[in-house]
Amino acid sequence: MDHFALWLAAFFTLGIYSFLYKDNPWYKLCEAIFVGISAGYWVVTLFWDNFHGKFWVHKFEDWWLWIGAALGVLMLMRLFPKIGWISRWALAFIVGATSGLWMMNYFSSNIMRQVQDAVLPLFGTGFEASFGAILANIVVAVGTIAGLVYFFFSKEHKGVFGGTARVGILFLMVTFGASFGYTVMGRMSLLIGRIDFLFSDWLGLIR
């Protein structure tokens, strides 16, 4: 059985990689099986985790759960075209609750923490900071202000303001470049993982 599973995994791995050459029937088969199985898996998982695990098991312990259940029933009204509009209430609730819940989180992390970390003594206490630390402090303070200027939408990017915005986008691009390299290395490790599977577990060429 393990042997069969190994060959199956290799078959699908190579099938997905065959897309690198071009779209082909092997890839289409793998794609269809992948999508079908994963969709079925998620239906079962969501049913048991959410409906059964979170609602059905605790339905008499916490009456708040019935509000969620009622909203779920409203969503199902889409199955009946004449009263399908009722499902918008549930959607409106989700969108409104999401906005409200995330507002303070974003406010806290994107404004308060950012400002807190950017307000710092550039030269350290009593000029004791090293050259590297001073440079890092200046980069943080200048980069934050210039970045904020770039994302300021009420003023045209012209003159000094435009120049500062260009400094801001420069900071952003340097950050993205560093992030790009870091993430590519992570992806390479994923590729190495699959290559290792093919050559080690499947073919046994690498011991």
Binding site: I16, F19, K22, D23, Y27, E31, F34, V35, S38, A39, W42, M75, R78, S87, R88, L91, I94, V95, T98, L101, W102, M103, M104, F107, S108, S109, I111, M112, R113, Q114, V115, Q116, A118, V119, P121, L122, F123, G124, T125, G126, F127, A141, I145, L148, F151, F152, F153, S154, K155, E156, H157, L172, M173, T175, F176, G177, S179, F180, T183, R187
Partner: protein, 421 residues
């Protein structure tokens, strides 16, 4: 060695010289003196034992955690005097809890040197009492128990007072600008190049007779990026309805499918072409991240869309999708607030909405007073943040480098204000 009996003068005489009565008295004195010796010896042993016994922790305090949902009790204590960094006897502490005066239960094992613990497995309405057991390799010492304490649920978190004030300030600015826009005041929003390209991109698809592909990320409706993507979808689908172009939109979440269908349907109705709308424009694929990617990639190479929109919350699939879109020659407009994925979009797409530009897009495209007012209000927040950073950094630098107390006070006050999150 002859046997002797102690005398009252402090000397001694041989028992052979004693009369019977004197012998009895002598025997009593000897036994008594032996008792004194034993008593002294016992007390010495007890004293030594007391000196060597493990000392328990002291000053154990249990306090309800402030401004929480009644789900945490904070414990603090002074560690045992035997808890020393060098040659200390304490190996660790056991935290015991009694719930509603029931049996004690060990809830935590802490290393030596510990002096605080937060019990975050409590409920409002129950009484909790605690004691600490200090342990060495051979023995243990139990502290006194705390008085029963019931955690309380607080409605307001006053630690976040400044957060509330700043949020209120920005909200007031938003309301002011929304009202101004409603009164007809023209609000300026700078050009966002990625959004300017939307009409051209849809027009290109129309001219080429190929469809538009819209990918709203892989997160659900509880992600604001998905909400922003659907807002932009409203504008895109309106243009598509006007141009009579084909759109298809594979999604990874069922709720997103429902919301997207509603959005496109409303756009087609607004364009006066409700009959051209079809539910097939939006299709659910799978919740599985890479299953979704496999399906969308296949769709791209088979349908060859002229325009691809990648707007929303993306993870590792961002580059795979963007690269495939690039390989089929589509013009691509992307946008996300995930910093780790932006580099890939910038590298592989024609236009990229960076972070907040994605959120600003809806206001920019719609030009609707409420959204424009909201955008302007947020700009007020950014202006405040910039001023605070400049003033704060100056105050911190002058105060800390040149030791100017006035500047230090400003710096510390600002730090305290913005740390209340």
């Amino acid at each position: 060695m002859p046997l002797t009996c102690p005398t009252a003068s402090g000397g001694s005489r041989s028992i052979r010289n004693l009369k019977p009565l004197q012998f009895i008295v002598c025997a009593l004195l000897v036994v008594g003196s032996l008792g004194q010796v034993n008593a002294q010896s016992d007390s010495t042993i007890l004293f030594d034992s007391a000196m060597n016994a493990l000392a328990p922790v002291t000053s154990l305090l249990a306090a309800d955690h402030k401004y929480d949902n009644g789900e945490r009790i904070d414990l603090s204590w002074i560690p045992s005097i035997d808890d020393q960094p060098v040659n200390g006897k304490i190996t660790g502490y056991g935290v015991y809890r009694l719930t509603n005066a029931g049996n004690p239960a060990l809830i935590a094992d802490l290393p030596s040197g510990s002096s605080t613990f937060s019990d975050d497995n409590v409920e409002p309405g129950s009484d909790y009492s605690y004691y600490i057991v200090a342990r060495s390799a051979y023995e243990s010492a139990v502290s006194v128990r705390t008085a029963p304490l019931s955690p309380q649920r607080e409605w307001l978190n006053l630690n976040r007072g400044f957060l509330f004030l700043i949020a209120a300030l920005i909200s007031a600015a938003v309301i002011y600008f929304v009202q101004s826009a409603k009164r007809g005041k023209k609000l300026f929003v700078r050009k966002i190049s990625g959004l300017e390209a939307i009409d051209d991109a849809v027009g290109r698809a129309t001219e080429m007779g190929r469809p538009v592909l819209f990918i709203p990320g892989i997160h659900d409706m509880d992600d604001v990026q998905t909400l922003a993507a659907l807002t932009i979808l409203g504008r895109v689908s309106r243009t598509i309805a006007d141009y009579d172009t084909k759109i298809f939109m594979p999604v990874a979440r069922s709720l997103v499918m429902t919301a997207a269908r509603e959005t496109i349907k409303a756009s087609y109705q607004a364009a006066g072409r409700p009959d051209a709308y079809s539910d097939d424009m939006v299709s659910y694929v799978t919740d599985e991240q890479f299953g979704y990617v496999a399906a969308v990639d296949g769709l791209m190479v088979r349908e060859k869309p002229a325009t691809v929109f990648l707007l929303g919350s993306f993870f590792a699939e961002s580059l795979i999708l963007a690269e495939t879109g690039n390989s089929v020659g589509a013009i691509q407009i992307a946008g996300t607030a995930r910093p780790a994925q932006l580099p890939f979009f910038i590298a592989a797409c024609d236009f990229t909405l960076i972070g907040e530009e994605l959120f600003a897009a809806s206001a920019y495209l719609a030009g609707e007073p409420r959204q424009l007012g909201s955008l302007k209000g947020q700009d007020v927040g950014k202006a405040v943040a910039m001023v605070v950073i400049v003033v704060g950094a100056l105050a911190a630098t002058l105060g800390e480098a040149w030791d100017i107390s006035f500047m230090q006070n400003i710096y510390h006050w600002l730090s305290s204000v913005f740390s209340s999150n």
